[in-house]
């Protein structure tokens, strides 16, 4: 894969005033949705390929923007509910409209995004502007017809799933049955039916009877891509539990527990923090799952629970800086990870606007940077290298000069092609490899 590299990049700079909080391609890859801290969703659409220009695929342009969530106030608890969009998940397309789920800390919404490119004209009883005509002035009849109009993309909330979570929602995942989905907060996972908003089933509850005994929280959850009865959830302790909904109504007892014993030589004050899993993603095949903790990415074979089959160090040079990272809160950053369409490459973000890719077959890895200064459209992305210690070579960057305010937490990979979306704090970058 890295032979091709990312040799041309199209970038789409999205100057959101707010911080981008989630990025997700739809099932075809034609649409890319981003959510931000201000509760807004911006959807980009890939231009239909211009077959003449064979060396590039379509660019992504803004397709629709809408306000998904507003800040709310829970009067009972005197608590403000942030409007930040934590996750967006697309439903597979069933008709002309597109549907996605977006969630903030407390409420999940199903949005319908539909196009309108024609409008009816020629009503008998209405003027074109909508005013009603006096029936007595109608002397002839005509049949209204559809006439083309400028494309209008409308987003409307079709379902609102609220009041089911006491704690902050961190994940939503649509089942492969395309009828149900799960939502997970720190302590509970609920199962919903997409059509039913007034009810959800609690399928995991790890809240202890005595909160003083709380030792771990749920950090992410996802349905298996093929088995509609299987899902996993990760914890702050670095474990992943796989549950089978057929086993019982309440899946508190896991079917499988994935955990790697800690390396005692790496023990520090912050061992527990850095082992907390920030993201879990099944491979497209459903055979593997990937987890992201603070310093590494691990690939697990669902058939082996006692250790991952592959481990990739994202930025091991940070291990000696954990105390500083704790002070400035960076150690709590929740990085996401993603698979490419063929499950051969995984990608995740880092600091200094770097992001990393690991080729599982060749075991090669690459560090790239998402920044405007260093990249012009259609130029090859230059690999970066961080110098952990000692002499810094030319073009290397020393650990101490990394900018920890520039972090890439959210990345997404097109389901079919080598197009990636990388979100820095305020900007969205889209890269693709050259089609030769």
């Amino acid at each position: 894969f890295f032979e091709k590299k990312l040799i041309s990049f199209l970038f789409c700079l999205n100057y959101t005033a707010d911080i981008i909080s989630t990025v997700e391609f739809n099932h075809s890859g034609e649409l890319l949705a981003t959510g931000d801290k201000g509760g807004r969703v911006v959807i980009f659409q890939q231009e239909q390929e211009n077959k003449i220009q064979s060396h590039s695929r379509g660019e992504y342009n803004v397709y629709s923007t809408f306000q998904s969530h507003e800040p709310e106030f829970d009067y009972l608890k005197s608590l403000e509910i942030e409007e930040k969009i934590n996750k967006i998940r697309w439903l597979p397309q069933k008709n002309a409209a597109q549907f996605l789920l977006s969630t903030n800390d407390k409420t999940i919404k199903l949005w319908k995004i539909s196009e309108r490119d024609k409008r009816p004209e020629g009503y008998n009883l209405k003027e074109e502007d909508g005013r009603y005509r006096d029936p007595t002035t109608v002397t002839t009849l005509r049949v209204p017809v559809f006439r083309p109009m400028d494309l209008m993309v409308e987003a409307s909330p079709r379902r609102i799933f609220a009041n089911a979570h006491t704690y902050h929602i961190n994940s939503i995942s649509i089942n492969s049955d395309y009828e149900t989905y799960l939502s997970a907060d720190d302590l509970r996972i609920n199962l919903w039916h997409l059509e039913i908003t007034d009810r959800s089933f609690n399928i995991v509850d790890i809240k202890p009877a005595n909160m003083e005994e709380l030792t771990e929280v749920i950090t992410a959850a996802e349905f298996h891509p093929n088995s509609c009865n299987t899902f996993v959830y990760s914890s702050s302790k670095g474990t992943i539990r796989l549950c089978d909904m057929r086993a019982s109504a309440l899946c508190d007892r896991h079917s499988k527990l994935f955990e790697e014993p800690e390396d005692p030589s790496n023990r520090s004050f912050f061992s527990e923090i850095i082992s907390s899993i920030s993201d879990v993603k099944f491979s497209h095949s459903g055979r593997y799952m990937m987890t992201r903790d603070y310093l590494s990415v691990k690939i697990w074979d669902l058939n082996m629970e006692n250790r991952p089959v592959e481990t990739y160090q994202v930025h091991e040079y940070l291990r000696s800086k954990l105390c500083s990272l704790y002070e400035n809160d960076c150690i709590f950053d929740k990085f996401e990870c993603c698979w490419n369409g063929s499950d051969s490459v995984v990608m995740t973000g880092s600091y200094n606007n770097f992001f990393r890719m690991f080729d599982r077959n060749t075991k090669r890895d690459i560090t790239l940077e998402a920044s405007r200064e260093n990249n012009k459209p259609r130029t090859v992305l230059k690999p970066r290298k961080v110098c952990a210690s000692g002499k810094r070579k030319k073009d290397e960057i020393s650990v101490d000069s990394l900018d920890f305010n520039k972090k890439i937490l959210h990345t997404a990979w097109h389901p079919k092609e080598n197009i990636i979306a990388v979100a820095t704090t305020n900007n969205l970058y889209i890269f693709q490899d050259k089609v030769n």
């Binding site: 005197s78 403000e80 005994e213 929280v217 400035n328």
Partner: protein
């Protein structure tokens, strides 16, 4: 030794984070606070398990620290900044002046002389303390809560005095090197483990931690320098000297009372915090109960902003809340 310094520093930072999490928009983040409490526990364990006889540093909140290695610039920040105004920078330099004359705390908690913090604060807690372990626990809890209620500003920022906090090693150790748990109330026989230089990890003990635990806190709130880590009471200057209200020098604490006090305070604070939040710690006598509940059950009971409100302990916090509110 470095471990203790580091541990102390980490404790300070952690407390600051917990404190500031109270004012975060969207409510307290359970996950983050759980992680912070884990760090707190680790740091505390290191603190406890690494005896360094004769080693002590200036405590937080400006407790003077005789130890020569104490840099003048060491932040004197006591408990989480949020407790009150940021300890004035002068605090740092003024450690020598702030040398608290160790006073045997009387359970009645005579108002600390010179405390700028409303005396009621102290007495309030004192009353609580009198109540026995449970009360003391509550009081301790209230102290824990203080930072939360007085939440303000960013942890890293100088606001609320936290700024001092993370920056330096506010190590306050017991002279005997048993930082935590040495806070036995004077004359408290029960604190056997304590007397044993409290080097043993708290968990093993079942002592009545509450009173002693509370004590340092209170002092901190009273604005006395050297109060339990993170308790610069609003309006207080580091010049205050902590009252050793229920504090008993740890066995082997033949050192300055002041120092012991400081370390005791810090130790108490650490033990209090450490035993709470995560629930991972065995219920420390220091009142693990309330704290954890406060922290974890917060979202459940009444969302972060109101965690404490559900607790009976809160009723006893009024004097403290004055201080906090003042912040």
């Amino acid at each position: 030794m470095e471990f203790k310094l580091e541990a102390h520093r980490i404790v300070s930072i952690s407390l600051g984070k917990i404190y500031n999490s109270r004012v975060q928009r969207g409510g307290i983040k359970l996950h983050k606070n759980l992680l912070v409490s884990l760090v707190l526990r680790s740091a505390r364990q290191v603190y406890l398990s690494d005896p360094c006889p004769g080693l002590y540093l200036a405590g937080p909140a400006g407790i003077p620290a005789p130890p020569p290695q104490q840099q003048p610039g060491e932040p004197a920040a006591g408990p989480p900044a949020g407790w009150g105004e940021p300890p004035p920078p002068v605090a740092r330099a003024s450690w020598p002046e702030t040398e608290p004359q160790p006073e045997r705390p009387s359970v009645s908690h005579a108002p600390r002389v010179g405390d700028e913090v409303p005396v009621t604060t102290v007495t309030g807690v004192g009353d609580v303390l009198q109540g026995g372990e449970a009360d003391a626990t509550e009081a301790a809890w209230s102290r824990v809560e203080r930072p939360r209620q007085a939440a303000a500003g960013e942890a890293e920022g100088p606001a609320g005095g936290w700024g001092v906090f993370p920056e330096g090693s506010l190590a306050a150790r017991r002279p005997c090197g048993c930082p935590l748990g040495g806070e036995d109330p004077p004359g408290t026989p029960a604190a056997t483990p304590r007397t044993a230089c409290c080097c043993a990890p708290r968990p093993a003990e079942d002592e009545p931690p509450a009173p002693p635990a509370v004590c340092p806190r209170k002092r901190g709130a009273a604005g006395v320098g050297g109060g339990p880590a993170g308790c610069p009471a609003p309006g207080s200057t580091p010049l205050k000297k902590p009252r050793r209200n229920l504090e008993q020098p740890p066995s082997g604490g033949e050192d300055d009372d002041a120092e012991e006090m400081e370390t005791g305070n810090v130790a108490n604070l650490i033990s209090i915090f450490g035993s709470s939040f995560s629930g991972l710690l065995r219920k420390s006598p220091g009142g693990g109960r309330e704290e954890e509940e406060g922290e974890e059950s917060g979202p459940e009971a009444a969302e972060p902003g109101q965690i404490c409100c559900d607790k009976p302990v809160l009723r006893d916090m009024n004097p403290w809340s004055t201080a906090i509110v003042a912040f």
